[in-house]
Subunit: 381 residues, 2 copies
């Protein structure tokens, strides 16, 4: 890790950040200046003033999104603030462009107040065709997203929630094919009830999974458990219907699928061994999974997925967020609906013609991923 | 004009706006992904968390500015709102890059409330190394700029004020050389007391001009005139010391210099004829000047400058704003001071080795303008 640390710092220093804002138009002649700047630029202004939707015709609006963070939950680093989160935001924007052709601008907020965030994003919204929320801690992220979706008529998407949920569902669709099980009948145990956990649970239920039991740091979540926040209360109504109590060790016993979006090294070989036959383990905590690939294998898991690049089956939002936004922007969708999310997951899963234990999801560098997802999203707005 | 209109609309439509946000770093391999995205990106985040100033080392912050507008005074179009102003903001950002290498992002606000604008810009400030205010109407622009300068420790620059003032001063420095007059002794009449007019008057006084008489739509501005706003009251204290009253026609009689930053066609041949010998006329209203070049000539003006590309002596902010920001960003200046503005004007004037009636200011495409201005600004922070 020490080498990576040095190399990463050197690379960032060498390039002085990752983004550049360039002109798409030639500005080398007086004629070009008079078309794209004064006096010609007044003409598209007048057109947009008459008909605001024409902004999509005459400006970069339709291909430009803001990547907004308050720095409250950056990677696994926690609440380091938005300035310290800027390298991640720049990285995200670079990925949007490199792999999806979307122009993305980092917006680092110096407030972590829910209502202030909502009003600031509303205030800067006119220049953006979409808003990607990034690295905002739960449960604040739910409220911020809800309020912004209501307030704006451009797509608002919290990638840590829905990007993760979509790619997780895509992986599960193929994993089930490999082990020959059916969504409606399997039992899922999920460790983690933050932004990603709750979004995954909701999307899996929409898809047709029926039995999910969520576990947070205090054990299983069940209706009536004292001290649940609004969002955990809601999810408690539709999960763990038997109101099982206890920790991971208790509920993993006999489960078909383990999904981890929580903390490193909280599951053991023994727990995996107690799962049902042909167990599926998605240990997605980053960079260190809930259980190492080695231990999950030793516990007898048939399919193992993580967030890591050095093992097969990397569950990575990069596979999703570009396609979601390309599709939504091209279709001028006003919202990202569940239907769009489900179609994205199915399209992503469909890219693997013959799923196998070591290949349930495309790789980050596979060609055509964003296009395929975008097409599916566009068709399903 | 009809052809230009069609051509400008077609050009904007063809390119779908003017800006693109690209990755400066290669992201084509797993290794690159692990350096610039997870897990490597965590390293610069941690460094910046420990030492915020390191953001200048590891991110694009030091070369990135926001071009912020509320759309209240876009070009000569007035209060058309920020969305309709987006083509201008994109154009401005494109110029920043093409002619100055600065990465600039348009921020279109959907509020025109002074305090809201200030708090929104403060809230998004962490991701920007500087703030360029654009096309915000007077007198609100003065208050917004003042408050932001106090609130932020990165350069805040309202180009419509100071860019115009700097390039106007540069032109005057050379114009005086041509006619053989001295700044401290000439009499200036200025039509227009908005953003540009007040900023020009202030900068000219700092430079060493002594006699300025400002005229707005109600006639000359003088101390004690009823109904003056706070900013006109302030400028009245240091201009028009004889408290002359009346319109342009009255005060232009015998004046050495006419500066127009107001409305088209408000000065006449006769007025110019009434000016002192070797009169200097800067008629900068855009696209139609306060008096046509033809009429100013017929009135006997020795030097005529406008904002137009089709005549000599184009007074254009493009000559200034890039250099100001490059210099300020490179020096990590916290403010744009008067000293920096004066040095920019002198540097710009100095680029013309032998000023003549038809060449008092460099052209937009002249090489090295931004560099020269930037160097001067950097030396004088």
């Amino acid at each position: 890790m020490k080498n990576l640390r040095r190399a990463a710092l050197d690379a960032h220093k060498k390039y002085k950040g990752k983004l550049s804002v360039i002109s798409k138009v030639p500005l080398k002649s007086k004629r070009a200046m008079s078309l794209f700047y004064t006096p010609g630029v007044a003409e598209p202004c007048k057109e947009i003033f008459r008909k605001p939707a024409d902004a999509y015709k005459y400006t970069s609006l339709g291909n430009t999104i803001a990547v907004v963070t308050d720095g409250s939950a950056v990677l696994g680093l926690g609440n380091i603030g938005s300035l310290a989160g800027l390298p991640v935001m720049e990285g995200k924007c670079a990925l949007f462009k490199e792999f999806g052709g979307v122009d993305a601008v980092p917006i680092c907020l110096n407030t972590q107040d829910v209502d202030e965030i909502v009003s600031v994003v509303r205030a800067i919204a006119p220049g953006f065709g979409g808003i990607n929320l990034e690295d905002i801690s739960a449960p604040r992220c739910f409220e911020i997203e809800e309020k912004l979706i209501k307030a704006l008529d451009v797509p608002v998407f919290h990638d840590d929630q829905h990007g993760t949920a979509i790619v997780c569902l895509a992986g599960l669709i193929n994993a089930l094919k490999v082990v020959g099980k059916v969504a409606s009948r399997v039992e899922i145990v999920m460790s983690g009830a933050g932004a990603a956990g709750i979004a995954i649970a909701k999307l899996l239920l929409k898809y047709g999974f029926k039995n999910i039991c969520m576990v947070d740091s205090r054990g299983t979540i069940y209706a009536g458990r004292p001290g649940l926040n609004k969002y955990k209360k809601e999810i408690a109504k539709v999960t763990n219907k038997k109101k099982r109590k206890g920790g991971l060790d208790v509920v993993l016993d006999g489960a078909d699928i383990f999904i981890g979006v929580s903390r490193p090294n909280i599951a053991t070989r023994g727990m995996i061994r107690s799962m049902a036959d042909k167990a599926i383990v998605f240990a997605m905590s980053n960079p260190d999974p809930e259980i190492s690939v080695k231990d999950a294998k030793a516990g007898g898991a048939t399919i193992i997925a993580t967030g890591r690049s050095d093992y097969p089956n990397k569950i990575n939002n990069v596979l999703v967020f570009r396609g979601i936004f390309i599709g939504a922007l091209e279709a001028r969708a006003k919202k990202i609906t569940d239907k769009m999310k489900l179609s994205a997951a199915k399209a992503l899963a469909g890219l693997i013609k013959k799923p196998s234990a070591n290949r349930i999801i495309p790789g980050v560098f596979d060609k055509g991923v964003a296009d395929r997802v975008a097409k599916a999203v566009k068709k399903n707005i």
